[in-house]
Amino acid sequence: MIAARQVLRRLPAYAVLIACAALLLFPLFVTFAYSLHPVVDFVENPPPSLWPDDPQWGNYFGGGASSGAIEGNFPRYLLNSFVMAGVITLGQLVTSSMAAYAFTFLRFPGRDYLFLVFLATMMVPLEVAIIPNFQTIQWLGWTDTYQGLVAPFLATGFGTFLLRQYFRTIPTELRDAAEMDGYGHFRFLWRVVVPLSGGALATLAVFAFIQAWNQYLWPLLVTNDPDMRTVQIGIASETAQIDKISVAFAGTIISFLPMLLLVVAFQRYLVRGLLGGAVKG
């Protein structure tokens, strides 16, 4: 009785929550519905009815009249995005943990000034440097290559800052003890500091991966070859063609799912990254 009454009392609260969720997810639902239409529905007498009379799962998995999203260009786009985001993430983890190590555990002249220079890089967004960077990549002959896609993003002032914040909580006695055991700096970093900093490294990794995966402007500039397109450029170019549009919608849904899962699973890290690593818990 009591339980039932409590549920009843909460009913309005749930109704509001569900209504908000439905509104927010509505664009996703319409895109999903559109992805199940045959292309003729968009060409003849558009816009089509919301839900198709005969859902075309072939738009996803193929086997229908036209090839599905998983057979067409999308696997290649997804692979390119995965390689690009993976290499950028790995690169940032390596360069920032090395730099953060030097700023935490090494003493050298000009350390604080150099750290300020690293922080200053955070104030130069890529968007304002695209023209010279594009010229550099062209000069290196790296257009339409993975090197060209990743090179400008392999180092990060933000990541160095984030990891340094964390490394500073590691007691210096540990370094002294490791030195007595004959550990050099690289071995200490790899065997002691890195294993102790899982949470901070995960924050940086999730943040770097999602940012890299979602990039648009740079991949648009440095790739022309359809085989080198990332998934973001891929969906943009595929949805521009009306004769393939339902497959493009299916590809959009497929490309959104991995990021959605990642954000749901690691949301805490992502928010922590956004707040500069300042939020606990």
Binding site: L106, T136, A151, P152, A278
Partner: protein, 325 residues
């Protein structure tokens, strides 16, 4: 390394120099990358701004600061700034309201509330490309359903993505242009803003939820003991305690708005007639379509100056957050 050379090195290099070399071993990768892709481009942009191309792009002509003056005082640049600031307003102000509302709703103590927390923050996962495509289903001139939805409510059609409104019409002055916001809406810009707002909703909700969770329960308890109702609680406890997070989220939102590119590229290509030509899009067009690299560089430096100011504000806020903890 053999013993004598090592000894010789010890003799030659003083301790600070040895320390510096050791540190450089760790810092070199970052320093090389920053030098190449952050600091060199800034200098190069300043340099490029001194030159214009001749009409056939065969020769660069040195014009010094003239190009800086011409570009920065041009009406086109002023127009793209106005469009950018309007876009910022359209995407940040509503996101503050919606984000606060959703965060407060998702912060209730209810069974299963974590599902709603996840859903409300989920649009954070959407890239600009995904977001643009999701909104094409409403805004596309042929296949979009936004006008059907308006008609169902008894409202007339709207020129989504196609009607530049005040940004296209002729105006006697900048004031007249701003005045026209209210009777001649720039539907193209509003369309792109709506899509961006949807993406921002998740971002704002996530940041504000994190902010809400730092408010101590005791504050609510003592408010209740003073006989405060729900609305009093919200006004006198939640809102003041949340305001640093709201301010922080807004600064992030403004920075994102100035960096926005993909949604314009996919949905409007800056048009119709520059009505959605934000600063970054006009940099892209000038540099990569009109090949006026010098003029584009000047605009990029102006964008840099704006973003520099915004980032400094953001840092201040972060510093305060860390400080108060």
């Amino acid at each position: 390394m053999s013993a004598p050379t090592r000894a010789a090195r010890r003799l030659l290099l003083s301790k600070p120099v040895r320390q510096l070399l050791e540190a450089l071993l760790f810092l070199a990768p970052s320093i090389v990358l920053f030098g190449t892709f952050v600091f060199y481009p800034l200098g190069k942009s300043v340099y490029l701004g001194f030159f214009i191309d001749n009409p056939f792009h065969t020769r660069q002509i040195y014009v010094g600061f003239d190009q800086y003056r011409d570009v920065l005082t041009s009406t086109e640049f002023a127009a793209s700034l106005i469009v950018t600031v309007t876009f910022t307003l359209y995407t940040v102000a509503p996101a503050v309201v919606i984000g606060t509302l959703l965060a407060v709703l998702a912060n209730q103590r209810l069974p299963g509330i974590s599902i709603f927390r996840t859903i409300f923050s989920s649009t954070l996962a959407a890239s600009v490309a995904i977001t643009s495509v999701l909104w094409l289903v409403f805004l596309h001139p042929e296949i979009g359903i936004a006008n059907e939805m308006l008609n169902a409510l008894g409202l007339p059609d709207v020129g989504w993505l196609k009607d530049g409104g005040w940004a296209v019409a002729e105006h006697d002055s900048a004031w007249a242009m701003v005045g026209a916001w209210f009777y001649d809406p720039n539907w193209a810009l509003l369309s792109v803003s709506m899509a961006t707002l949807w993406m921002n909703t998740g971002l704002f909700t996530a940041i504000l939820l994190a902010g809400l969770q730092t408010i101590p329960d005791e504050l609510y308890e003592s408010a209740r003991m003073d006989g405060a109702g729900r609305w009093d609680e919200f006004r006198h406890v939640t809102l003041p305690m949340l305001s640093p997070s709201i301010f922080f989220a807004s600064v992030v939102g403004v920075i994102f708005a100035f960096q926005a590119f993909g949604q314009f590229n996919i949905l409007t290509q800056g048009g119709p007639v520059d009505s959605t030509n934000v600063v970054l899009y006009s940099i892209y067009e000038e540099a990569f379509q009109n090949f006026r690299v010098g003029a584009a560089s000047v605009q990029a430096l102006a964008l840099f100056a704006i973003m520099l100011g915004l980032t400094l504000v953001q840092f201040r806020l972060l510093e305060r957050r860390v400080f108060y903890r």
